[in-house]
Amino acid sequence: MRVSLPGLYVALGIVLAGLIHVVAVLTLPMLAPRDAQARLAALGPANTMIELPPSAPGRQVMPMMAPDVRYAVCRYDLSQGPVRLRARIADPLWLIAFYTPLGENFYAVVGADMKRPDVDLIIATKDQTVAEVGVDAPEAFDNVVVVTSPVVEGIALIRAPLAGPSRSAKAERALKAANCTPHSSSS
């Protein structure tokens, strides 16, 4: 039996189209030029808490940011060791979310689930040990949570949704109190 020539071309076309489709889908995340990490890197150095300016027309760090949420971001870099993030959750609506540079949210702190307002997190890769840091002052580390980051460079983003029209000043003040610093065992 002989396969007809047009049929052969159609079959070839479908197989090729499928291959091209798969390659395009898999390579696109790597080709995206302005991912969130690149946008945030323009704001300032790593391992510092940076409050994002309130979103306004023509002044948005990332597209489609909520105009009624105030944000603070810490672009962390664990290559020199773990990083510590401390914040006081001023409102149960607050959320602290941790991302890889591709935008994968691997950990989140939900304000409404917290028993106490103070959040004390140490971000470390799975190879970095933070157990010994508590030796000098064990009781001070009772509330510390170690967040294992799958990436050396990532993003911690605090969201403070505004609980009312006149709450922005309060939220911005509360975000200023959040900090992000390289963690050393002497601190």
């Binding site: 091209i20 027309p57 991302y99 949210n105």
Partner: protein
Amino acid sequence: MRALGYFIGTFAVALILGIGSAWYMIERGSPLTTVQAGPWRSWLSEGNPNADPYTRAHLARSGRLPLTSTAARYFVTYTDGRGRALSADCEYSIIGAPINARWWSLAVYDGYGSLVANPSDRYSFNSEEVIRRADGSFHVNLGPKARPENWLPSGSDSDRSLVLVLRIYGARNTDIGGIGQIPVEHLPKIERVRCE
């Protein structure tokens, strides 16, 4: 020679089909990756580290940092309830039923995801500030000219296309996997009132 011509033709068609279908499924989504509720579309695994390649590509292209669907749900629409593209030339009546969540916000953007400049600096309405009617529903008037009740301005630049984003934080009804469930009938209805 003719065989070569056919081969090149086949390759060109395959290129268009392959790239085109990839672009469509990444940009607009498909039943594999999104749920459609009326005009609203929501990417189910956005931000999830175990997301499928389409969702990952969609997220990387968008440059956003969304919460996963256990913390927040995002519903996006480019059209009104009858499938016509949202435009700054038109006035829309958006009627919403109560949403059972800790916080929600309905915001309007232009086609590039930027906020729309307007004299009253109003870009969204959220659950804390929207004016509700006696039955708990809310009516948002989206359009270029000032309107009573909740006026969401779409700016003075006509023939701008618009995008509406409804973000719902801490939905109180969740499924077994903790994903916030928003019944379709509780998502706002978008009706076009008139166009310039």
